[in-house]
Symmetry: C2
């Protein structure tokens, strides 16, 4: 692509996208504007503005509408430019192991609905995408369709496993599904790990809404996490961040599926917690029953959850000292009920987080549940899609001083 | 400031700074340009461009020079705009506990020299700043002076302890020294923790040059670290990131100065390592002697360093799994010699880093030594100063796809 006619990554293309973002951001903030008003606010030359507006109108992102100039003024009606309310919807999809979750947002960045459907673990990708499409069709009174989002919107997609520019999945899996989606959708597809997307969603609409430095941990069938750093999702090299489930908590512990030993996941996943409870003589068909037993005063259930909480707290404290989040969000079936586990986590944090930092970090339960990953897909689009992002895409560094102070962290 | 005449943080000021950065970036990339060329490339209106250029010329950042139109053309010489080579030097200063280190860079972002001087731990701030000023005077053939950098350059300053927008230091300390510096300097002062700045320097010019996701650990009289995330220094809430020295390695361990128990610093600082060696019957006046003993085959010295390396590796592996760095850089007197410690660190990383991530992270020794913090001050200015930054300040997110893939991580 370098040096070609369609140089999408060169300085000129970048500049042009910057201008498009500027114009879209102004229309988003100010509502309908005339060309004159837009030119004044954007500080762009007439020629540049005219080019940019023509492109945006052609793409369907912006519509030009006539406005009656009013009784006192003569001549042609004033042309007003507005964001196209039919365009630019963001769709989030979470392709979990055994379910598809979808959510949608309108051009005003408001979530307008979500839906979920369970499926067999071995459902092929084309069928999963069909399922996602039909779920999307149930949102917004049937007005939305993946294939009808057009050239302006984007979809953010969560999948299981690490996602980076060098994905470890074989071609035909990760690349394959992305291509399938892009083909069906006809627009850009942003892909990320679904647990990381849940972290982004919690920091956008959930337990850490508006916070810029967030540590998220999910204790479910697997154990994983995500970091929001300076308001943006942190990915790490090759997408290998947020692997909190594979931090060692017991070097002499059980073998982990990852190939390591004594990982947090070997003691804090749903399966591990149930095994520990049963090994101690408890009986529970699932994690909900274990929580109910603990709530009902079952000492064994309480102690098992307390021990797990201690390990979880040790891991969170270590990462907290390294990264400095303002909020720690903990979710997943192991953590979303009862107090035994969370109390133990709090105790471990109190003992292990750097004392001067202790009152600057808050532990909260996740709020978005199953649909967090799909909502995170939307958040990803709103944060990172070239056309839906504000201008600048995130708060200007020169505006906020240091890169990621958190104006709400002391609220 | 909000709504006032001099709104430095509002959308208009931000837009204006964006335009200034755009113009400075174009002059940096293309060299001297006429107003016409500049206007064409910037896509700004004539009025906006004229305002911005006038401001930059008045500030001394840009100079206008006449160029002979050549024999075939008549009329006035073409006015060319260039960056002022006398302006915009970046200075980095590291105010360590018992020494001042300085470094300087020219407008081309090249480091042109560094210097250091030791002093008593209780030297008052005005005297430390005098010392820094005279050290700066020794660089660049005596052409540089803190007070003569003028309105365009900026200095990046490293200090001991956490630095955030809510610093824990009492007024008269952190704020006081920043004011003293700003007054002396007459320009913007960017302040950060000196260990974090060393991390930034290592990722700019040192062991992790050009890498976008870097984990840095320094084992010295204290133990601290820093994270470079997506190419930028990560600060965390209230500047409390990088506290790797206070991650618990032994819950039943020694009391730490921070108020915690069994922190990495209690086993891996110079003092802790020497105490462990002496407790095991070894004799060494300082850490250099201990390293020499280990090099000479002293089993006790080797074992002490090996044990410390195991703790260090456990902490690095935990943070690595959470954050996903491409490079881990380890520095400070405890780690800058010998192999016993680093071998143990490698072993712990091999055992504890998520298996699929192991070959994607490299362990390296720090390269910049004592002057790393001062170089980091320069890097901070180049990364974050409004006037010295490129346009955009960091690689456009929409340009590089996901926020922080690391194009060199597999190099």
């Amino acid at each position: 692509m370098l040096g070609g006619m369609h140089d999408h990554d060169g300085p000129l293309a970048r500049l042009r996208r910057g201008h498009e973002e500027l114009v879209l951001g102004l229309l988003r903030r100010h509502g309908p504007l005339s060309r004159g008003q837009l030119g004044q606010r954007a500080g762009l030359s007439r020629t540049t503005l005219s080019d940019i507006v023509a492109e945006l109108v052609a793409s369907g992102a912006v519509v030009a509408s006539a406005k009656d100039p009013g009784p006192r003024r003569r001549g042609r009606p004033v042309e007003l430019l507005t964001l196209n309310p039919q365009a630019g919807q963001a769709i989030g999809i979470d392709f979990a192991r055994r379910a598809v979750h979808v959510a949608a947002a309108n051009v005003a960045h408001e979530v307008i609905g979500s839906a979920s459907a369970a499926h067999a673990a071995d459902l092929p990708w084309p069928d999963r995408i069909d399922l996602a499409d039909s779920l999307v069709g149930t949102l917004a009174g049937g007005a939305l369709r993946l294939s009808a989002l057009g050239t302006v919107g984007a979809i953010g997609v969560g999948v299981v496993g690490p996602v980076g520019h060098l994905t470890s999945a074989p071609p035909g899996d990760a690349q394959g599904r992305e291509e399938l989606l892009a083909k069906r959708f006809g627009g850009p597809v942003l892909l990320d790990n679904n647990t990381r997307l849940a972290a982004l969603a919690e920091s956008t609409w959930g337990a850490a809404a508006g916070r810029r430095n967030v540590l998220y941990l999910r204790l479910s069938h697997g154990v994983g996490g995500g970091l929001v750093v300076g308001g943006a999702l942190h990915r790490g090299t090759d997408g290998l961040s947020g692997e909190l489930g594979h931090i060692t908590v017991d070097p002499a512990g059980a073998r982990c599926e990852c190939g390591g030993t004594g990982c947090l996941e070997t003691v804090a996943s749903i399966g591990a917690v149930l095994r520990a409870y049963r090994a101690a003589g408890g009986r529970a068909a699932d994690i909900a029953e274990l929580h109910s037993a603990a709530d009902a005063g079952d000492r064994t259930a309480h102690d098992v959850l307390h021990t797990v909480g201690g390990h979880v707290g040790a891991v969170l404290a270590a990462v907290c000292n390294a990264v400095g989040p303002g909020v720690i969000v903990i979710g997943g079936e192991v953590a979303d009920r009862g107090t035994a586990l969370l109390t133990a986590v709090e105790q471990a944090l109190d003992a292990r987080v750097l004392p001067i930092a202790r009152d600057r970090v808050t532990l909260r339960r996740a709020e978005l549940g199953d649909v967090g990953g799909a909502l995170g897909g939307i958040a990803l689009v709103l944060h990172e899609s070239p056309l839906l992002a504000g201008y600048p895409a995130r708060p200007d560094r020169t505006d906020s001083g240091p890169a990621d102070p958190d104006p709400q962290e002391d609220a």
